[in-house]
Symmetry: C2
Subunit: 477 residues, 2 copies
């Protein structure tokens, strides 16, 4: 007898006289029908118990959450809702589950409650589907880059530099927390710390990825990044994963081509490989939408949104054009936007980005050539002296999902930029070296992985798309 | 005209009248032959310059490290050492490189010097080969697990728990470093810290992976882990990457099967896909070995070591048997071991592990059923009450490369273990929940990724197999 996964059994075209499966009870009804799940698929295998010939002591232990080892015959199902089912010949209780205290009852739980039980929440349909999709998206990302000649590089997590300035950082230390050693000036003496200087958790691997791009040509990072920002919102995490490709000899136009192709490719992958999970989450989202006032509902279902990305060309629009469109738009004139767009130079908010995608262009949008002063120091200055070769990709429902740029490859221009922003050249001596020795046009972008998982699953809270979320006041598990 | 990578050009079977390539100069000799590399392959493309018809000002700028854009005709090479070469029709200098100051001169540099220039070291053959292999091994790992029904899970990096006890941890904080808030007892008040409690960088994602295995059945982590140990050796990093699969319903024997199949699969992948880089590193290692005294040289070349793993069955030996073998071995009797094995219960050192693999069994070895008191609290206690279902995989040249176990699935036994070791149940309430609700036999292992990269590249210092190593007193770049 061979141990099968639930997924293997459900895809059987023929009946099998002897099968064996292990999993957890989702429901047990009528003292007869066990819905068993092992995480290999969204769906449960129905196991039909001959209750008249089964020990009562066993039947009583078939509770939601219990782990079972079941043997039996795989047959065509007589009931509806499943093609096959197991006629049980033997049940072994591997692990009991107290029906009174098991937190994951067979009913609808609030996501907040499930966050408090993040160690058990993948025993629900929603979270197992989300985490299978998260895994599939990860694989699709590695597969895409591998097939396109990129090398995966692990950027450092602990960094001695705070030059990127992307946000507040977490300090990493093993000095005595209460009585740190002080130097002659009476300040904390980080020269006595583990790394001999003050260190933080990285906010981005981009600068290091640039070093690798300037020798291996095409590289990408996929690793954790951190922000010590006290933002208790449904869109912020203190710890999240980021993908950052970086390519030598590629300009901004090439960067847009790459980002569009990449996004379409990974979303196509899950449309092709995770259909059941997507259909379940699509349905879940539709049910959730129904509880909202009409005006707040999405025009598109989850799967429609994914196809909106894979089936449309991304419209490329300069920041300057976008400002014109927004300034003259109805919601701007009627003051329906929370932030009214008055002049060139304004930073766009999610409401503006979504208007461009959902109402104006009706396709994903790539904005480019942003004002230099709202973008990072390393972005390539245009000839106009006031815009940089930045680009943001805007998606429906979510606004910005990708941000990237061509990088400033000219040593003198980069130095001036750093000087103006008070970034110490000594701190980034190695980054400047890349412009001293064989500099070249190069570009890249960053994708917050959890933003992608939210988009692909339709989940509304970022805490629900990462296994164990880290947020202000919360580092449980 | 189409831009090609060096790798594409070198694999051309036909001549091409018009090609275009961008890359960095490795060498320029006789004012005529440029060796150009773009990281897409170990090998350079030879670009033949018609120096008599090329501006002298350009010729003088073709220095090692400069970035060039070259156009020309791809022809069969007249010289030896390459099949094809480019007859250059135009050269554009994209980025100069000062021949006087460029650190990576076309000569042999010490690895120590290259570590100080880690941002440029992938412009050498050795480090570009190592990092391509590192990338390929990463992909092979994801591919293996994806094809075998595993889900990738991202375990948290910042953790509020220090229960695993695998080593010293780094504190993560954004309290004021000099004057942290104190509580009524005069101790640092971590309740005022970002996460509302003391937090550290993770030493392992295993416990969280167990939670996911107990719902999704087959999962793995692949992420950074940390040790704040002041070990300035060639085998320790403060920040390194670890792979930790975890599987429900799998016992120790299944764990050994999985680990053996996995290791063979990823090494086979690079043998099949990275032959050029491996052959280069094989040669490098042989050259290095020649500088050592005969007695310290390895019996096997790099590629022989890899095939030693893929072509041999891993011998499974209990710890108890191994102790007997070691106790009666020649080096033990003749006191050639640094640590003499006298009795059962001794922790094995690398010298013992290597003896078993290289001299005694002459194949990779899996040791299992270790004394409980030298292994972690979560390992499954055997019926003898003194050994646990642990396993270590031993490889030639390196000793232990994988460590794993069947996990203690029995709530009461686990609680006793924790009590004996003074591990607070409240700290691991969620881990205990996994044993309360549908517990089952489950197992997993950990593989230090850099140990694997060292093994597969033949590099002797762990700092040379990770892009930007973090070690005591060093968090540069």
């Amino acid at each position: 007898m061979q141990l099968h996964t639930v997924s293997q059994l459900l895809s059987q075209e023929i009946t099998l006289p002897e099968v064996e499966v292990k999993g957890w009870v989702r429901t047990f009804r009528a003292n007869r029908f066990i819905a068993l799940n092992d995480g290999s698929t969204l769906n449960n295998i129905q196991c039909v118990v001959d209750f008249e010939n089964t020990d009562d002591a066993i039947l009583k232990r078939i509770n939601t959450g219990a782990a079972l080892h079941i043997k039996g015959e795989l047959v065509e199902s007589q009931g509806k809702g499943q093609k096959v089912e197991i006629i049980v010949s033997s049940i072994e209780i591997l692990g009991d589950s107290d029906a009174e205290t098991f937190p994951i009852q067979p009913k609808k739980h609030s996501f907040e409650f499930l966050r408090e039980n993040a160690h058990l929440r993948t025993r629900t349909n929603t979270f197992s589907a989300v985490m299978r999709l998260r895994s599939a998206l990860s694989f699709a990302i590695h597969k895409y880059f591998n097939e396109n000649g990129f090398y995966y590089m692990h950027a450092p997590i602990i960094t001695g530099s705070d030059a990127e300035g992307a946000g507040e950082m977490f300090r990493v230390s093993n000095l005595d927390a209460k009585n740190p050693p002080l130097n002659e000036e009476g300040e904390v003496d980080f020269s006595k710390d583990f790394f001999g200087k003050e260190t933080n958790l990285t906010v981005s691997g981009q600068l290091e990825a640039e070093a690798y791009a300037m020798s291996l040509s095409k590289v990408y990072t996929f690793g954790p990044t951190f922000r010590a920002e006290n933002s208790n919102t449904s869109r912020h995490l203190a710890e999240f994963w980021m993908i950052e490709p970086e390519v030598a000899f590629m300009d901004l136009a090439g960067n847009m081509d790459l980002a569009e192709d990449f996004m379409k490719s990974v979303i196509t992958y899950v449309l092709e490989n995770n259909r059941e999970d997507l259909e379940f989450l699509d349905k879940r989202l539709q049910d959730e939408e129904k509880t909202k006032p009409q005006a707040q509902r999405s025009d598109m279902t989850l799967i429609e949104k994914l196809k909106f990305v894979t089936e449309n060309n991304f419209k490329r629009v300069s920041y300057t054009e976008a400002i014109d469109i927004l300034r003259n738009s109805k919601p701007n004139k009627k003051k329906k936007f929370k932030y009214i767009i008055n002049e060139w130079g304004a930073d766009l908010q999610s409401e503006h980005e979504r208007f461009l995608v959902e109402k104006h262009f009706k396709c994903p949008v790539i904005l480019f050539d942003y004002p230099a002063n709202i973008k990072a120091f390393y972005m390539r200055l245009n000839e106009d002296g006031k815009t940089v070769r930045a680009m943001d990709i805007l998606f429906p429902g979510i606004g910005e999902i990708v941000g990237g740029s061509q990088r400033e490859e000219r040593l003198e221009v980069l130095k001036e930029k750093m000087k103006a922003l008070d970034i110490d050249e000594k701190e980034l001596w190695w980054y400047l070296d890349l412009r001293k020795y064989g500099t070249a046009v190069h570009s890249g972008f960053g994708l917050g992985f959890e933003r992608l998982v939210m988009f692909a699953t339709g989940m509304g809270n970022i805490r629900d798309v990462i296994p164990f979320p880290r947020t202000p006041q919360n580092a449980d598990f």
